[in-house]
Symmetry: C2
Subunit: 246 residues, 2 copies
Amino acid sequence: MRFTSEQRLDDDVVEREFTLGDIPGILWTPASASASAPVPLILLGHPPLGLGTMYPRLVGRARQAVADGFAAATVELPGSGDRPRLAAVDRARADMRRAVQAGEPVGDETVDALVLPLVEQAVPEWQAALDALLALPGIGGPVGYSGGVISLGIRLAVVEPRIAAAVLFAGSFVPRSMVEEARRVTVPLFVLLQWDDEGNDRQAALDLFDAFGSEEKTLLAGMGGHTGVPQSAGEAAERFLARHLS
Amino acid sequence: MRFTSEQRLDDDVVEREFTLGDIPGILWTPASASASAPVPLILLGHPPLGLGTMYPRLVGRARQAVADGFAAATVELPGSGDRPRLAAVDRARADMRRAVQAGEPVGDETVDALVLPLVEQAVPEWQAALDALLALPGIGGPVGYSGGVISLGIRLAVVEPRIAAAVLFAGSFVPRSMVEEARRVTVPLFVLLQWDDEGNDRQAALDLFDAFGSEEKTLLAGMGGHTGVPQSAGEAAERFLARHLS
């Protein structure tokens, strides 16, 4: 892990860009972190639109995480931003958009091709990032995962024992195999659902919530579309992480 | 409205029992209420088990409401506690219990007979209580309704313009006609659902949530049975009321 930039965002937040091999990432820490006890880490998930595009929303979430006493970090997804494209995923995305624009259902094969290769490649990368991040002074466990591609959150929660709690956003396509995988998730979960998300199958999201194996799981459904998560819902998710990681 | 007892529960809460005609009720106010600006009022709903039986849970919710800056009040439901029994409702309750014990579905007619007469009689009583409570020094609007028989909350939210926000517990039988009535509810709503509530039809609860006409409505579903609402869910409901009544 090599830091490529460092800036102080405000009195309390230090933002550092890094590369891990050829994967870019960003780490946000409290300015006072190295001096005090290690803080828990929240991995900020995001949709595959590139860190540059997602930066304004990510930095808002990161600032909140730091204010809550955490470090926050994220890495670029495979095929996004300046990373090499994933041709198969790009084709699946084009198929998906054609189906949505034609008002047709998005087929299972398209969903699988859109999501599964991304998850397969991203999971070991996020685990490598965890190795590097947790080796830094001032950052300790436990680790939370929050938001972004829900299938990545599901897979990480299943395979990565350092993830102690997860906030998942039921707002993206979920391969059927991931619903089965969800039964193996056991960490405390907080699932956000936008009740009227135009691009999301509400019943599929409810079935997925039902499938999670976690003894403690909470579903918070609010009104509004995909990007209209109410502030109060975001705050509830923050309190959930604070309760489980502090 | 005639006060029949008054006690100071702790430094901040005054509990007063009252009767309104022949209907008993309880009012909890901040000890300092009359000296300062009027506080908003939360009507505490409860199941038809009698105020005596429900007192321990009610006083806990009332203490929290007062700590949040509200007054809280409740009145005995028709047919409960020391009030005259409602023979038809008692028969419907016996039918309901027979069906549940036999593992059979509870019929629509039984649900109607169990709930509708209770709501019909209770609504004007709760409105009369509101008249009397809001005339007291130290208590002002807006008014919130929280918990208890969900159909009473729905009807009050529809007919009583002083109700500005409601927390509803999707944990009791709901007549089909009340689902239609739910479409006429427009105040901000926070609906609690126990995902594994053994006595509750989850799909019916989700359909009811979908039916509410409110632009702002939130569903919080947690794990556990009917009486196992997690503390964090109760706190989320309190924050909802604080946001809308303060």
